[in-house]
């Protein structure tokens, strides 16, 4: 087992990893930018190293500074969390070259799944259904790109080959909109991923987003920990996640989890990872992408299975065999997570500020993973996630009721949050009935809030 781990992240996930390390008897080293010098994760780690000024490219994405921090503090492994360097194959490679264990899958697996076109092709070959669309990248020539788009059929979605997570996606209603959409998508892809390559997928009609959690060890054993339904999304970003999915019957669940294991096996997956699918109105599912890291919404699975994913991820990286067989994983009840973001409830814009008063909800089966406390400055440099509220109950209605209570008791002052939006969703009959889809929130936001 490792003796000291550097946590190359910030906010709630840095604190989550620090807690997992502490439980395993591992010392932790935090890194921070100048914007985060007083952040909770810096205090909670055993040591902390400044890695640069506020912009992420100069701090949390600064590979050299982070590797240097790990070397100078005598770490034997680096946990990347999610976002930032977590899915950069080059970083995993450089960790290895520096004699540090990257807590995640091998660099080759990150690279294979990070190239979304290559991932689609790999999955198709492994017999995993993919979203209908091009199996090759889109040609750069506008006329050839138009032909490729026509072959896929409108409406469609242009996506960046270099990365996922909803970043750089552009929806195209018909051929007239294609040239402008290609230009926007290529620019965003270049900015976000340094790679302007694009591909197209047919737009599914109001699908659901359902994903499967995997855990693989370095000895060829791979299990799934069932699904999470993340259909409540805004601008392709998830804000509510739950398990089980209210949209799956047992037969579809079995087929979906089997497809996810097939996907993981095909790439030799190791560590914690997630296979994302879209589920259409007829119950057919299609591979969307694979996230080769711990995900924001991992606590949903932890609450429902009792498995500590972050601790296991660390143990697997240290070479331990998976201590669980598939039949040992027995999900119970219903788990639900709401992402609490700094967001203006009227304009829906991100809302940086300083938290002036703070009190978390508590009670049986209520978990809060947060990155802030009273006095924390919420800056414009990083994403708007402040905290995650996760609840568990015997069934879905009880979980929703428990979440409403928890959110009503959550006190965050000084920074506007999306808690009012969550309360509207949780009380909505479509959500209560489990009939919502990935367009549900956009439709709800377009409707005027009740006065």
């Amino acid at each position: 087992m490792f003796s000291r781990v550097l946590v190359a992240n910030r906010g709630e996930i840095a604190r989550r990893v620090i807690r997992a390390c502490r439980a395993l008897g591992i010392e932790t080293v935090a890194v921070y930018s100048d914007a985060d010098a007083d952040a909770p994760h810096v205090r909670e780690a055993d040591r902390a190293v400044r890695v640069g000024p506020p912009p992420a490219v100069q701090s949390y994405l600064n590979m050299e500074a982070i590797l240097q921090a790990a070397r100078q503090t005598g770490c034997d492994a680096i946990h990347p969390g999610y976002g930032f360097l977590s899915e950069r194959a080059e970083f995993a490679r450089r960790c290895e070259a520096a004699g540090l264990v990257f807590i995640g899958p091998p660099a080759g697996v990150i690279a294979a799944m990070g190239d979304k076109v290559r991932a689609r092709r790999l999955m198709h070959q492994a017999g995993v259904p993919v979203v209908p669309g091009s199996l090759d990248g889109l040609p750069e020539d506008p006329a050839a790109a138009a032909d490729a788009a026509e072959a896929v059929g409108y409406p469609l979605m242009i996506k960046a080959a270099g990365g996922g997570g909803g970043i750089g996606m552009v929806r195209v209603a018909g051929p007239a909109d294609l040239p402008a959409a290609l230009e926007v998508a290529a620019r965003r892809a270049r900015q976000a991923f340094g790679n302007a390559a694009l591909y197209v997928e047919r737009l599914l009609d109001r699908p659901r987003h359902v994903e499967v959690q995997l855990l693989g060890d370095r000895h060829g054993r791979l299990v799934h920990l069932y699904e999470r339904d993340c259909s409540v999304q805004r601008r392709h970003q998830k804000i509510i996640e739950e398990s089980p999915s209210p949209a799956l019957d047992e037969a579809t669940r079995d087929a979906l989890t089997a497809a996810a294991v097939r996907a993981g096996t095909a790439v030799g997956y190791q560590s914690a990872g997630t296979v994302e699918f879209l589920l259409d109105r007829d119950g057919r599912f299609y591979f969307l992408e694979m996230n080769t890291r711990i995900q924001v919404e991992h606590p949903v699975t932890e609450m429902r299975t009792g498995v500590d994913l972050v601790q296991l991820q660390i143990r697997l990286a240290a070479g331990e065999p998976l201590p669980l067989a598939q039949e040992d994983i027995r999900p119970r009840g219903h788990a639900l997570e709401c992402r609490i973001c700094a967001e203006d409830p009227v304009t829906l814009y991100p809302a940086p500020g300083t938290v002036t008063a703070y009190r978390e909800p508590s009670g049986p089966h209520v978990r809060v993973d947060s990155g802030v406390e009273a006095g924390t400055a919420v800056t414009p440099y990083y994403d708007s996630l402040l905290a995650k509220v996760v609840v568990w109950a015997d069934d879905r209605p009880a979980a929703i009721a428990r979440m409403i209570q928890a959110l009503q008791a959550y006190r965050i002052e000084g920074v506007a949050t999306n808690i009012p939006l969550h309360l509207r969703v949780l009380a909505h009959p479509e959500f209560a009935a489990g009939r919502h889809h990935t367009e549900f929130l956009a439709e709800l936001a377009a409707a005027r809030p009740p006065v």
Binding site: T347, P352, P380
Partner: protein, 76 residues
């Protein structure tokens, strides 16, 4: 008329330059805050007289980004 930042963030792009003409609803700049891009639109037709902020600048909500000489009633 002054076009102000609707939120705190970093200037990603300024898409107008002095002397340029803009119409109401057209973007004059793009801000980035918390990993989100927000286009700042002009509230009126007019001619750009001044660009106060450059890409990379950190701006607070309410800071003036661009100054316009708004067209009179009926437009130009």
């Amino acid at each position: 008329m002054e076009i102000r930042a609707p939120l705190t963030g970093t200037v990603l792009r300024v898409v107008v330059s002095p002397g340029g003409r803009v119409r109401a609803g057209e973007p004059v700049a793009v801000l980035e805050s918390m990993k989100m891009e927000i286009a700042v639109e002009s509230a009126a037709d007019g001619v750009v007289t001044e660009v106060r902020r450059q890409p990379g600048d950190l701006v607070q909500a309410g800071d003036v980004l661009v100054v316009l000489d708004a067209a009179g009633p009926g437009g130009v």
